[in-house]
């Protein structure tokens, strides 16, 4: 065979091969490239950690044929992340973290990026919320605190991230059920615990793992758990309900995808995450941070979000913070 004929044969082979590959990629099943898991918080925050742990588990157990990269797009209380994912509507390679503020913030900022602008996939776990005071505080039970707040309105200070966030809801609901009136302090997340420890602020709301070490070191005291039942991490901590204050408030942490994706793509994601939450590693992680394993598949999650949304809307309206999107 002459050199020329070899090279012609080679060229033809390459053409066929590339056409084949090209066609294959056209009909290739989703996903075709890496999946982006967008976090609306900065690295290290609660939601971010759950997301990173889940992504890590998916990688380690090879639950996805493509890699999953975690991207942080903090800012604007999540609006920056939401607008980023919204720009990629229709592209199921974009996932995003979803938690209570994903519902409450757009309702207060007249944003169109409400929870139903995207495609909720599933809920991973549910973080409980605890009411915390400093160890030396004169309030030893939630009753002590709320009774004082009722007797002397506007003296007890309640620290939280911002008005319209989950901590604010906790304060609002506690005030409502007890007929008390506390003051809300919008404090930077990192300044809340020092503020409590230093005696500048009376009470705050947090997730169990944020205060775990300080509780064990007898610097902070948990007055109540805002859950339906007691928590395995703190079996001696009574729920607010038990103590006569029917306030149940969970911080769900779930996954949502870009809007306008197909049913098949959404189902694909659902399956991957379903397998992830069933691993021992995930279960161990959830227990370690004091969260509850409440995996919710798509349909259930959508209904849950709808219910939460109604709950938040009511609270925001009463507080005069409700500002929905007006197209």
């Amino acid at each position: 065979m002459s050199k020329k004929s070899i090279s012609i044969k080679l060229a033809i082979c390459l053409c066929i091969l590339s056409t084949g590959l090209f066609t294959a990629s056209l009909v290739a099943a989703f996903p075709t490239t890496h999946i982006r898991y967008v976090n609306h918080n900065s690295p290290g925050s609660g939601t971010d950690r759950v997301a990173r742990m889940t992504a890590k588990i998916i990688e380690e157990h090879k639950l996805s044929p493509v890699s999953m990269t975690v991207e942080n797009k903090p800012g604007g209380s999540g609006e920056i992340a939401r607008s980023y994912v919204a720009q990629h509507a229709g592209d199921a390679h974009y996932l995003m973290t979803i938690q209570p503020t994903s519902i409450s913030v757009p309702m207060q900022r007249a944003s169109k990026f409400t929870w139903d602008y995207f495609t909720p996939i599933c809920n991973l776990l549910v973080d409980s919320n605890v009411i915390v005071v400093r160890y030396e505080s004169p309030y030893k039970t939630i009753k002590d605190l709320m009774e004082k707040a009722k007797k002397e309105p506007n003296t007890i200070s309640f620290a939280g991230n911002s008005m319209g966030g989950i901590e604010y809801f906790a304060k609002y609901l506690l005030d409502k059920t007890s007929g008390a009136k506390t003051k809300f302090l919008a404090v930077e997340p990192t300044a809340q615990i020092p503020g409590i420890l230093g005696g500048h602020m009376d009470v705050m709301s947090a997730n169990p793992d944020e205060v775990d070490q300080l509780v064990k070191a007898k610097k902070l005291r948990i007055l109540a758990l805002l859950s339906e039942e007691r928590n395995t991490l703190y079996p001696d901590v009574p729920t607010a309900r038990e103590q006569g204050y029917d306030v149940v408030l969970y911080s769900f942490r779930g996954v949502t995808a870009a809007g306008n994706i197909s049913e098949a793509e959404a189902a694909y994601h659902e399956k991957v995450f379903e397998k992830a939450v069933q691993t021992d590693q995930f279960k161990k992680y959830a227990t370690a941070i004091g969260a509850e394993l409440k995996y919710m598949p798509r349909k259930q999650f959508v209904k849950y979000l709808k219910d939460e949304s109604v709950k938040y809307e009511e609270i925001l309206k009463e507080a005069g913070l409700y500002k929905p999107y007006k197209p």
Binding site: N72, G76, P194
Partner: protein, 504 residues
């Protein structure tokens, strides 16, 4: 004795060949990424976090510290050579540092910066080990009222700093505070002055404004004046030998001993206060140093002390900020927030139980602060001082400035990926040009921009706590003391001004 024993334990963990290798990787990565302006030391760590996956906590933390110190250090290099504050903590270094570079003393400035940082961080680590618990108890006394008084003092010191006119300094601070109101209102989060622009929803991106004010304004000014070379003196421009790079360095060091000491102390105590980190530490150190300098009229125009004090402070603040992190698990500053992130990613939870649960992690963090710093000093410094400083100082502006502009714009876009931030840098450059024409200093303005939101938030919180009574700032000992110092400073400055007028 127990302490030394623990230290040796920490060193034994760190001085392992694999770990040293990882530390070196951290130094290279940190230096390179840190050179890119706009990507400060904290963002550098955030970007490089994936490297930590799969490493054990001891190695991971050692690398993290190495990345942090080398990134801070390379920010100082860029600040001195190119007048680009690549990291907020290098802001004060940019002022005197670049002026020194213009006098042909960039190598010395970089060396002093490195030595000050080294001394600052090492002393702070010692402080961390010796007086952590009582210091932590002290810092918890800082509530909203105290934070407000502290920030007020900072803003007043800034407006007095190194300018002839207190009024102009005040105007600068006020403009900065006003610009700082752009963004969410502290209590309810309502947007102010964002004009519907999504990217302004957290306010003006501070580092873009800082880079614009310093680097881009400089470009405009020099183009206008037709200056061709950074170092105008031709003889100084031609760097003869390597030796000339260290000309007079011993003398410089002697002059700066006091500055380094003061800077270290200021930085350390500022770092302990939760919410105050390297940046604020460097402001205070720079401002306070200005009161101690023998020739205050030259401060800000190229005095070595103006580099030594803030650099010592921003490094020692890390040691101070480690105190709340290691004793309470609270990140007291940006630098410790990223360290916390790193630890959490490696499944180590910092807090009061860390020392007892994971002594290996705790003591190796301490020793890696020593080792990492030392390696940065020995490896990076000679390279940057001898190579970079020489070449960059001799470059013609016509070649240098395009590089500077590209770096500033890329840096603005940097971590967030928003081109909007590059526009902000440009806008700040234009605005800065005009402000300087009107004699309004830019330093206080940009710092007020950064401190403004904190200032307002703490005022709101303090007044909410006191139910509207201003007395809260004067009734509490700590806050009252700071308020007294503030008023005293204003009073003394006013009298000094009057005396000056009389002698005229």
């Amino acid at each position: 004795m127990e302490l030394l024993h623990n230290l040796f334990y920490g060193f034994s963990l760190i001085l392992d060949p694999t770990r040293i290798l990882f530390i070196s990787i951290g130094i290279i990565a940190g230096t390179v990424v840190g050179l890119l302006p706009g990507i400060g030391s904290c963002s550098t760590i955030a970007i490089l976090l994936p490297i930590l996956f799969g490493t054990d906590p001891v190695t991971g933390m050692a690398m993290l510290c190495a990345i942090y110190y080398s990134a801070t250090y390379s920010s100082a290099i860029v600040a001195v050579l190119l007048k680009i504050p690549g990291d907020a903590s290098a802001l004060m270094t940019t002022i005197d540092g670049h002026e020194l570079a213009k006098k042909g003393r960039s190598s010395q400035a970089i060396t002093i910066a490195a030595l000050s940082s080294f001394i600052g961080s090492n002393v702070s680590v010692v402080g961390l080990m010796l007086i952590a618990p009582p210091l932590m108890a002290f810092s918890l006394n800082f509530g909203p009222a105290e934070h407000f008084s502290l920030l007020l003092l900072a803003l007043v010191l800034l407006s007095i700093l190194g300018h002839d006119s207190f009024i102009k300094g005040m105007i600068s601070v006020i403009i900065g505070l006003m610009a700082g109101t752009i963004g969410p209102e502290p209590l309810r989060g309502d947007y102010r002055y964002t004009l519907g622009v999504l990217y302004l929803s957290d306010g003006l991106p501070f580092i873009s404004v800082a880079m614009g004010f310093f680097a881009i304004t400089d470009v405009f000014n020099n183009i206008e004046e037709g200056i061709e070379y950074k170092i105008e003196d031709e003889t100084k421009r031609a760097y003869g030998s390597f030796k000339s790079a260290f000309d007079g360095i011993l003398n410089d060091f002697k002059t700066c001993i006091g500055s380094i000491t003061r800077g270290t102390l200021v930085g350390f105590f500022t770092g302990v206060i939760p919410g105050a980190g390297a940046t604020i530490a460097s402001f205070f150190a720079y401002a306070i140093e200005g009161r101690f300098v023998k020739t205050p009229e030259l401060y800000g125009k190229g005095m070595m002390q103006g580099v030594a004090a803030p650099e010592a402070a921003n490094s020692s603040s890390v040691g101070g900020a480690m105190i709340p992190m290691l004793t309470l698990g609270i990140p007291g500053s940006n630098s410790t927030a990223v360290m916390l992130m790193g630890l959490l990613l490696m499944d180590v939870v910092p807090g009061p139980l860390l020392i007892s649960n994971r002594p290996d992690v705790f003591w190796s963090i301490i020793s890696s602060m020593y080792v990492g710093n030392l390696m940065v000093l020995l490896i990076v410094m000679p390279v940057s001082t001898l190579l970079l400083a020489r070449y960059v100082s001799q470059m013609k502006y016509s070649l240098l400035y395009p590089i500077v502009l590209v770096m500033v714009f890329l840096g603005g876009i940097g971590v967030s990926g928003n081109v909007f931030e590059a526009w902000v840098a440009l806008g700040a450059g234009v605005a800065g040009y005009f402000f300087e024409k009107w004699g309004i200093p830019l330093g206080p303005m940009v710092i007020a921009l950064l401190l403004g939101p904190m200032f307002e938030r703490n005022l709101t919180l303090a007044l909410t706590l006191s139910n509207g009574s201003i007395g809260i700032f004067f009734e509490r000992g700590l806050s009252a003391t700071m308020m007294a110092i503030t008023f005293l400073t204003i009073g003394l400055n006013y009298m000094k001004g009057k005396k000056k007028k009389k002698s005229k």
